[in-house]
Amino acid sequence: MGGYFTFSFPDFSFAFLSILLEGLPFLLLGTIISGLIDQFLPARLMTRLLPRNPYVGAIVSGLLGIIFPMCECGVVPVIRRLMAKGLPPSNAITYMLAAPIVNPIVALSTYAAFRGQAPLEVTIFRLGIGFVVAVIVGFAVHNLPIRHVLRTSILADIAQPQGLSNHSAGGSVGRRLWGSLHVCVGDFLSMTVYFVLGAMIAATFNTAVNQEVILPLAMNDWLATASLMGLASVLSVCSTTDAFIAATFTLFPTVAKLGFLVFGPMVDLKLIFIYSAVFRKRFILGLVVGLFVLVGLICVRLQVILAHTSVPL
């Protein structure tokens, strides 16, 4: 008792299973959508629909979550499939980062969770910062060579004119549905391996690390924001519900909670492993560090800016 790290295997197993049970339905939903996209979305349709200007395309991609909301567990197989269908990686990554935040479900849950704590302002800032950060990352990715971003196997899939599967978006509806099934199962199994790994690490930190270690950090905006962002990564809670956790950190300034709410759905321990199914390790490292710095800077600067306004944060 009282130590910073006390590991209990039964408790680890309990937390591990609860994370799996909560996340698996959403992961399955994502892979089902992924299978349907593969078989029913005509190749290159996305590139025709989105603005040709890559920067405008990234901005529009950042808003797609409003129409196609996805949680962070399910979005990765979807963007993998969309990239195979011709969506530029910069747009896909913008959608991947923004969709778990910039969507109506998250807006509602954030508003509900922060009732009594300036809910409208927190909701607007959460969605706004999430969108801005995702678009900035999309711009940055656009200027990177694609081989530095995607795994070799994903690059090879994109190089195929029809995407990952060989007869996608062709044949009868029945044939396409069977094709969707195969793609869905393949994606689900490969993504679940990474999800299991991430859930194991999240469960370890979730149960073994004494959370009181981070409490003294609440007194300083920089440390508070950084520590809550770190905690969001460790807890790995779904973006549709994480606001209910963030709202409980009453000792922390609101900007630190915003850091938790924006950074968590973009980078958490299970996500890092899920990202590994699509992106190169070095890119993931850069993405994690870049997002940490970017979200942290925006949130802390927001505190300074809002101090001169009447916005109740």
């Binding site: 209990s8 509900a112 195969h182 199962v185 299991v196």
Partner: protein, 287 residues
């Protein structure tokens, strides 16, 4: 690995995961793991995985599935992936006790102020009450009724006694969370203050405000989404004699409810508490 073998392995893994999820749901174990909102999704996902397993076996073709599942990677990597999908699941199922032990609960921050709960900032007290409202983040818009665990007593004037439930000894039966609300709501506090009460929870050593080491916490777990995010809600108790029960034992506590001011804030404290072991309640969580 041939395509047929790969299809069989995929179907087997899906069938195992689907069966496990269905078993967890239909056995009722799911109530230990998930908020009621998420529980049906376990059954839906489990059934869907079983269905997928069957469809994978009967589906025509399969080359695409094989391609999507493992188009790259050596056989040992594929075998490792299969093991990763099965071994952690089985080990966790075998070792999980469907509840947290004392060490994990001690690692969590105790909630001793209801404003720390999601939507937990209490409604402001009526202006004619003798006590000014105690500090909350924003006491204007939230209500304790927003949480599933509504206090057993009303905080409105005139009807504070209408919902009080008493045991055979005449003690007011309440939940741990009720006393946290009562600490901030004067009308509700008057229902409990200096009266004999009965409350059920799990026994833990007190983490704070325990100068003589003779106080304990009666803990209930508040779940937001799943067990990984539960927060212990703590009600300090001051027993007349040291309880013999180990940490996290379910106990029934009887004693006098008091609300001393500590550090400028009112906190609940059960004085002269008698502690006896009891069965867990039907639903061990508060929501």
């Amino acid at each position: 690995m041939t395509l047929i073998l790969q299809r069989l392995v995929s179907a087997a893994i899906l069938m195992i995961w689907g069966s496990v999820l269905c078993a967890i749901y239909f056995s009722g174990r799911v109530t230990s793991y998930l908020h009621p909102t998420f529980q049906p999704l376990t059954a839906v996902c489990g059934c869907a995985l079983v269905l997928l397993a069957v469809l994978v076996l009967v589906a025509p073709g399969g080359g695409d599935a094989a391609h999507a599942t493992a188009s790259t990677g050596s056989p040992w990597k594929k075998a490792l992936g299969v093991l990763m999908l099965l071994i952690p699941l089985f080990v966790a199922l075998a070792t999980s006790k469907d509840s947290f032990g004392a060490s994990t609960v001690m690692n969590r921050n105790y909630v001793e102020d209801v404003a720390q709960l999601p939507g937990g900032a209490p409604a402001s007290a009526p202006s004619n009450t003798p006590d000014a409202p105690l500090p909350t983040n924003d006491s204007s818009s939230a209500s304790p009724a927003n949480t599933a665990s509504t206090p057993a007593v009303s905080d409105g004037e005139g009807d504070a006694q209408t919902e009080v439930v008493k045991n055979k000894k005449g003690e007011i039966k309440a939940e741990v969370i009720d006393f946290l609300y009562a600490a901030q709501l004067p009308d509700m506090r008057s229902t409990f203050e200096d009266k004999q009460i009965e409350v059920i929870g799990q026994l833990m050593p007190a983490k704070e405000n325990n100068p003589n080491g003779d106080r304990y916490d009666l803990v209930r777990m508040f779940m937001t989404c799943c067990a990984a995010d539960v927060q212990p809600i703590a009600l300090p108790i001051h027993p007349g004699a040291k309880p013999n029960q180990p940490d996290m034992t379910w106990v029934k506590v009887s004693g006098k409810a008091t609300f001393p001011v500590i550090g400028g804030q009112r906190h609940p404290l059960i004085e002269n508490a008698t502690v006896e072991k009891t069965d867990p309640p039907e639903d061990t969580y508060l929501y």
